[in-house]
């Protein structure tokens, strides 16, 4: 019983680590030329020198931009507890100007123990923000604006960006604007008046190198020897882990997985899955866990969809594919049925399905999104007249038919032969 509890505790620890980005990115931030050090230097110097600054953090989704920023901010809040206040906005939530100003005021109010009025107008809020900037500047307090999904703020009139950056042009204010975006051309989206006020400092976040990756894996997966988890178990666990990490097969799995996307978060999802598969009985991570995780996480949804289809639905798909081969530029259910009938006639297929059954099978295909309507016009047309198209390539269809259990041979013939 005690053993099982230990294993469960270890599993919980691993899982909570994987769900906690700031833990994951900690080891990557030691070296002096890491993004962490650079970012920290930039922000802390603008705090100490009481100047304005703006930075863009760019990198693919899941490369840890926000996590590193959070680490930096946490450290800085400890270092200069009274000199910083942080305002966080996200482009997903606050891309609307009105909303953004409201949120800024709300967070400013919460930060400075002021009463926030929900009824305040757009103008009130923007005035309030500028006044606060000035006041904070006079009090030598730096306001750090974090704009997540920065590119979404660059839609529309960019009023928020403009008023933020414009307010920072004055000597009295003291603020740092940090834009975070996964669009590398995020600064090109800015209007001229905004761009000219923006300091073109950019920090690029790249996927970890192989060595870093190895270090990261070890950091995440090894258990602490000096915690509530029993010492012997942790030591044994770590030894097994080391063995596995050195294993060529394991490295291969990781490389295969990272081929599609090399960001850290992508890795985390894989590790999460593998760790979840850990046997509670044995209590150790095994290569098997990672193998199953790999096969379960790398999915081929379209193939799965084809495998789920019934034979009749496959017939319809093949008919549609044949119509496409015939270069019929647009077709609908009726023409598919015509093709189906002609196939039935020429190959003497005995099974007969009524029109309504085929229509339902067709609707199933639509539901599965293996096919879709070519346009949204003609909403009031009935289904059978609206032009459709295949959403899978003929190669995928071929592949799907091959992997289908007990697929009728006639379908392969129909796929290959042009009648």
């Amino acid at each position: 019983m005690g053993r099982e509890n230990t294993v469960e505790e270890a599993l919980n620890l691993l899982r909570s680590r994987l769900c906690n980005p700031s833990f994951v990115f900690k080891p990557l931030s030691d070296s002096p030329d890491s993004n962490y050090s650079k970012l920290k230097f930039i922000i802390s110097s603008s705090v100490t020198e009481a100047c304005n600054n703006s930075i863009l953090l760019l990198g693919p989704r899941g490369s840890g931009k926000i996590a590193v920023l959070e680490l930096v901010l946490k450290d800085l809040l400890v270092e200069f507890p009274d000199l910083i206040s942080v305002i966080k906005l996200s482009g997903l939530l606050h891309s609307d100007d009105n909303c953004a100003f409201k949120e800024i005021s709300r967070q400013l109010c919460a930060e400075h123990q002021l009463l926030f009025s929900k009824m305040a107008s757009f103008d009130d809020n923007s005035q309030f923000m500028i006044a606060m900037l000035r006041e904070c500047g006079l009090a030598h307090k730096t306001i750090i604006f974090v704009l997540d999904e920065f590119d979404l703020f660059a839609q529309g009139k960019q009023r928020v960006l403009y008023s933020l950056l414009d307010a920072m042009q004055s000597v009295t204010s003291q603020a740092v604007v940090i834009g975070v975006s996964c669009r590398l051309d995020a600064d090109q989206l800015l209007e001229k008046r905004v761009r000219s006020r923006f300091s073109h400092r950019k920090l690029l976040f790249l996927p970890p190198s192989k060595e870093d990756l190895q270090r990261l894996l070890e950091h995440i997966l090894s258990l602490p020897v000096d915690s509530t988890i029993s010492h012997d178990y942790a030591v044994e666990f770590n030894a097994k882990l080391q063995n596995m990490l050195a294993d060529e097969k394991f490295k291969q799995i990781i490389i295969t997985y990272m081929d599609s996307d090399a960001t850290v978060n992508h890795l985390l999802r894989f590790l999460f899955r593998a760790v979840s598969y850990m046997e509670l009985g044995s209590g150790f991570l095994s290569l098997e866990n990672f193998k199953t995780a790999l096969s379960n996480i790398q999915r081929q949804p379209k193939l799965e969809c084809i495998k789920d289809c019934s034979i009749l639905e496959l017939h319809i798909l093949v008919c549609m594919k044949r119509l496409e081969v015939k270069e019929q530029n647009s077709y609908n259910f009726n023409s598919v049925m015509k093709e189906y009938k002609s196939i039935r006639a020429s190959f003497q297929i005995s099974e007969y399905y009524a029109w309504s059954i085929c229509l339902r099978a067709f609707e199933h295909l639509l539901q599965r999104e293996l096919i879709c309507f070519t346009d949204n016009r003609g909403q009031n047309q009935s289904v059978e007249f609206r032009p459709v198209k295949l959403l899978i390539s003929s190669h995928e269809l071929q592949q799907g038919l091959k992997s289908y259990r007990s697929c009728p041979a006639i379908l392969f013939k129909l796929m290959d032969r042009e009648v």
Binding site: E8, N12, R15, S16, L18, C19, N20, R61, G62, I66, L92, L93, H94, S95, D96, C99, K102, R106, N265, L268, R269, F272, R273, S276, Y277, N296, I297, R299, P301, K302, E304, C305, K307, D308, S310, I311, L312, S330, N332, N334, S335, K338, E351, Y352, Y353, A354, S356, I357, R360, A361, E363, H364, Q367, R368, E369, N380, Q381, S382, V383, F385
Partner: protein, 672 residues
């Protein structure tokens, strides 16, 4: 406002009777019956009705006092989902619903239906929950859903009156769990045959109590057990969760408010005017409220577990994780074209940054159908494949009284039906009447069939299989066994072979004669080219058209083919109102002779008068036909400026209507 909707079956075709009563009460719409049942239409109608009921009307008390109840009755397994959504929508606190279920369900008289051969297990749970609403809040978010009575016979339908919600206790934090005794993992596995791998994987991914989780994305085809398994999983785990389906929460605001209501333990009732706990339209507000609500709930759980230590109360939730389940996520894609909601939901985990929150998305379609320009961190995919034939056998075998007999029945039918569909809901509806047929020669249903008997039963059933294959998606009635014996050879009648369809002549369309004529004339106007109107309806032109038909050179054949192709692609043509009315006049003037003979001086004789009073009547009929989706209003023609109409009625149906009028429709149809 819709006060009564029911799906009737009469003589085998499915009739949808819909009486729409407007809020003004001044304007009654005709009752319609839809002889040719189109599922899509029906769902559309249903949705419209739902939206109408929920949005149009602000003061529920008015509605209650006027009508007392709203009634839905359903035949289809697939409709049950819609119906279920109607039921959940009633959480929006607007209506009192009474659910009437008859048809195939009438064989399962139990209130607690067996898990699988049943509409939707979760729906069933939902009913059960709402029945004892007085004791517990139910976990699917119909806090105030009224007492739901289920009737299994049609006869009682008229007598049903919605009963008022009984007063319920204030919600507590315990109500966030499933609310029934937790089941063991083994029970869970055995109640879902063929889903072992998926269930075990989900258990693994959800992890032990208090262990954080990355967002999950569960996907798989319709009726592969996604929702039920997830919900039963939480029953097994006994952890707090919030379930909201995007089917019923059809707009961001309703979705947000439904989540918040459940988290804030808010119940909509007459006292608060059926309003939500928070008014929240934007994602930004939602995040603020959600964070607040979640941290409240989590602190509550933490406090509880701290106080109680190891002691566990009954109904107490395990751990302090809270799970948010978003069902039917695929519908969100259509919500807004700018599509900020979808990336928002997918990024919700990163935005909240609360490790105590688990997100679970349930979707019909695979993750690759969600790609957008935006991009997001993909959740962890879990696939529910469709059932294999063996799984289906196990599922269908569940809860059968005589398993041996049913198994031999499945030997006969399952293989061929699986070629059409592997959806449990469709199969079980199709098998129900077929099994009855299979059992017909038997006196004792408890008998264990031997080889010889199997052969006998098989030969009895065999002629039924092929036609019933084409019946898979229709609900058949138990009645009218007489009809089955006659027409068995004609291909045309294959739909009727199961003895489902009674004679069409007997079919009462519940439509006035003039509406029928209008329907036919719309059909003709859509099918026939306008240039031929003169020759078809003018006695002088008839010969002319016949003459044209004769010549068939190479070129004209080609032309014919092209035209055929075109009609396949374009569907029925459009026509202006004037043309419809002209044809209508012609038809009724032809028909009035026969009507006079039969001394049926109803609508037809009105035509004779041909005055303005009739016209307004006809226009009213037209508008009601439009509302019933028999005729659709298209965009206006840019040259003429008048609205153009299009008939959606299929030929079979038009012929049926014509036959009921004894009108020679085929004479007027132009064949290319």
């Amino acid at each position: 406002m819709v006060s009564f909707i029911s799906f009737h079956r009469k003589g085998g075709s499915i009739l949808l009777l819909c009486t729409c009563l407007h809020q003004t009460k001044a304007h009654w719409r005709e009752s319609f019956i839809f002889p040719a049942f189109s599922f899509t239409n029906c769902v559309l109608l249903y949705n419209q009705v739902l939206v109408a009921t929920i949005t149009n009307h602000q003061s529920p008390s008015n509605l209650f006092s006027e009508f007392g109840f709203c009634c839905f009755s359903v035949h289809f397994f697939s409709d049950i989902r819609v119906c279920g959504s109607a039921l959940i929508s009633s959480n929006q606190g607007l209506l009192n619903w009474v659910l009437l279920v008859f048809g195939p369900f009438s064989h399962q008289k139990t209130t607690i239906c067996p898990d699988f051969l049943n509409p939707k297990p979760w729906l069933n749970h939902l009913w059960r929950k709402s029945e004892n609403i007085g004791h517990r809040r139910n976990s699917m978010g119909k806090e105030e859903s009224p007492q739901v009575t289920r009737r299994t016979t049609r006869s009682s339908s008229s007598a049903t009156v919605g009963t008022k919600t009984c007063d319920s206790h204030p919600l507590t934090i315990k109500d966030l769990v499933f609310g029934e005794d937790p089941i063991s993992l083994n029970d869970l596995l055995s109640s879902f045959p063929g889903r072992r791998i998926q269930i075990l994987e989900l258990v693994r991914l959800l992890g032990a109590s208090n262990s954080p989780m990355l967002p999950l994305f569960i996907y798989g085809g319709a009726s592969s057990g996604k929702t039920s398994i997830v919900l039963q999983m939480f029953r097994h785990l006994n952890r707090p969760f919030v379930y909201s389906s995007c089917h019923t929460c059809y707009s961001p605001r309703i979705l947000f408010e439904s989540v918040l209501n459940q988290l804030l333990l808010h119940r909509k009732d007459a006292a608060n005017g059926y309003s939500s706990a928070k008014r929240c339209e934007r994602p930004s507000d939602f995040v603020n409220f959600l964070r607040e609500a979640l941290s409240n709930v989590i602190n509550n759980f933490k406090g509880n577990s701290g106080k109680l230590g190891t002691k566990k109360l009954v109904g107490q939730a395990d751990g302090n994780m809270v799970y948010l389940i978003f069902d039917n996520l695929e519908l969100v894609r259509e919500w807004d074209k700018s599509s900020t909601i979808l990336p928002f939901l997918f990024n919700l985990y990163d935005i909240l940054k609360m490790p105590e929150v688990g997100l679970i998305f349930v979707s019909n379609t695979s993750p690759d159908t969600y790609y957008s320009n935006m991009g997001y961190m993909e959740p962890i995919p879990v696939h529910f494949p469709d059932y294999t034939e063996d799984d289906l056998r196990q599922i269908l075998m569940k809860n059968q009284a005589n398993r041996k007999l049913y198994s031999s029945f499945l030997d006969v039918v399952l293989r061929s039906f699986c070629r059409i569909t592997r959806r449990v809901d469709e199969l079980s509806t199709a098998f129900l009447p077929l099994f009855q047929k299979y059992c017909e020669p038997l006196h004792d249903l408890g008998v264990v069939p031997n080889e010889e008997m199997k052969r006998r039963l098989f030969s009895h059933l065999q002629p039924q299989i092929a036609p019933s294959l084409n019946e898979v998606f229709k609900v058949s009635s138990q009645s009218s066994p007489a009809a089955e014996s006659n027409k068995e050879t004609k291909k045309k009648s294959s739909r009727r072979k199961l003895g489902v369809c009674a004679e069409i002549d007997e079919l009462d369309f519940h439509m006035s004669t003039s509406a029928k004529y209008l329907l036919i004339s719309a059909f003709l106007a859509s099918r026939n080219p306008a240039t031929l109107d003169a020759s078809l309806f003018d006695s002088m032109g008839g010969i002319d058209s016949r003459k044209r038909k004769r010549k068939s050179s190479q070129k004209s054949l080609e032309k014919k083919e092209n035209a055929e192709q075109e009609i396949l692609m374009k569907g029925p043509g459009t026509f202006p109102l004037e043309r419809l009315l002209a044809i209508f006049q012609c038809l009724t003037s032809v028909a009035e002779g026969s009507i006079d003979e039969e001394e049926h001086g109803d609508e037809g004789s009105g035509v004779q008068g041909g005055d303005g009073g009739l016209m307004s009547d006809v226009l009213l009929q037209l508008s009601s036909l439009c509302n019933a989706n028999f005729i659709v209003k298209g965009g206006s023609c840019p040259l003429e400026g008048s609205t153009r109409y299009r008939s959606t009625v299929c030929e079979d149906m038009a012929l049926k209507v014509a036959r009921s009028l004894k009108f020679p429709l085929s004479k007027y149809l132009y064949r290319r």
